[in-house]
């Protein structure tokens, strides 16, 4: 049975990739952000997960609103990054893990999740920035990635309760995969931010910290929010919390917080880092 060894949450904004490209990590603006990552990198280097199941949203690279899936999953052996239009550098291909991907996809549809299943999928900054961040120098080619993409761009979006359910089903699927590979989860995006409208610039530090607490100890509590609640409290793009909630759904038993960082603002967002372990399957 594949071993789900832990989980990481992280922002995925393009500005991070730009800061790394321009070697700004040690500047006063960026230092408190990048200081959150060495413990996570250390954990990844020590535990060496074979596979990352990465929850993200596409920001209009692969999917357009001509045909917009609620949940999609990649089942390929490789994914290409591509030009997103505003000049962040394209990074090398991401390695996939088609066997486990298909196993999860089969299991999800069996459980009543109506996935869009992708054998070809361009992955944007939502997926690539976290990889660049965890393996500086884009040294992530050895890690196999399974993209799980959640609609956060167009209403109707899946609600927090549904994202938690998705994660639970994925966790179950991972544990039922006949292999001794190790798997870690990345929940990306968030936290509070709003890019659009007269209300642009909202950050809700208190809410972000509360969400991080609840994510560790009581994720079910976060399902009391609707997406509209999240928008009202944390800004139009706070819905990206759904990726964290989905990720958390895949963990089980007692969850331990090994590391946390919160810093705001980075670009227009509140940025949270969590490193979590859970009770291993017995």
């Amino acid at each position: 049975m594949a071993n789900l060894i832990g989980a990481v949450t992280t922002s995925h904004i393009p500005a991070i990739a730009n800061a790394m490209a321009n070697k700004l990590e040690e500047t006063p603006y960026w230092k408190p952000f990048f200081d959150g990552y060495p413990p996570v990198r250390k954990w990844l280097n020590e535990n060496k997960p074979d596979v990352i199941v990465l929850f993200y949203n596409d920001h209009g690279l692969e999917f357009f609103i001509d045909k917009k899936p609620t949940f999609s999953i990649g089942v390929a052996d490789q994914y290409q990054n591509a030009d997103e239009g505003w000049g962040i550098a394209t990074i090398p291909p991401v390695t996939g893990e088609s066997e486990l991907s298909w196993h999860i996809a089969n299991s999800l549809v069996h459980d009543g999740f109506d996935m869009t299943i992708c054998q070809e999928m361009k992955v944007d900054h939502g997926l690539t920035v976290p990889l660049s961040l965890m393996w500086p120098g884009n040294d992530y080619g050895h890690v196999k990635v399974i993209p799980v993409c959640i609609n956060c761009e167009q209403h109707p979006m899946p609600q927090p309760w549904r994202c938690l359910e998705l994660g639970k089903s994925i966790g179950k699927a991972i544990e039922s995969f006949d292999s001794d590979m190790t798997v870690a989860l990345f929940g990306t995006g968030g936290l509070s931010h709003q890019l659009d409208g007269e209300r642009a610039g909202i950050i809700n530090r208190e809410f972000d910290l509360e969400c991080m607490d609840k994510l560790v100890t009581d994720p079910e509590d976060l399902t009391k929010y609707s997406n509209l609640d999240l928008i009202e409290i944390g800004g139009a793009q706070a819905v990206e919390l759904n990726m964290w909630i989905a990720m958390r759904g895949a963990l089980r038993g007692k969850v331990t917080e090994l590391h946390r960082n919160y810093h705001a603002p980075i670009s227009n967002t509140g940025s949270g880092v969590l490193l979590l372990e859970h009770e291993m399957p017995s």
Binding site: G60, A82, Q154, P156, E198, R199, A200, S267
Partner: protein, 119 residues
């Protein structure tokens, strides 16, 4: 309460819902094309002509030519596709924030810092 029954309005926020997705379809399709250098170049060569190619309304076209983000949002633009338009204009998210809130970029950044500190 069902999403569709939840008629709350969030001040200063245009939800990109079915109304906007329909209204802004051509506009967003144009912005989606900015993922490609070919689309960006063609737009830069003839902005109005490129808008017509995607069937933008006159209001949308004027707002594109005026770089009027707030109007583009109200006319169905999605921030995710408009971001590609902004990138083409060499504007970052703080520039866009300043434009939308009527602040200077420095004022907008100061507000972000203040909000980030929970003040």
């Amino acid at each position: 309460m069902s999403y569709i029954e939840d008629q709350r309005e969030v001040e200063g926020t245009v939800l990109f819902d079915h109304r906007m997705a329909k209204k802004g379809y051509g506009l967003n399709k144009m912005c989606f094309s900015f993922n490609d250098q070919v689309g960006r170049d063609e737009f830069s060569k003839d902005e109005a002509g490129y808008c017509d190619k995607f069937g933008l309304t006159e209001i949308q076209k004027k707002a594109v030519l005026d770089k009027d983000i707030l109007t583009l949002l109200k006319e169905g633009g999605s921030i995710y596709y408009l971001a590609k338009f902004a990138g083409l204009l060499k504007l970052n998210m703080q520039d866009i924030g300043a434009l939308q809130t009527g602040m200077s970029v420095e004022e907008f950044k100061a507000m972000l810092v203040k909000n980030g500190q929970g003040k």
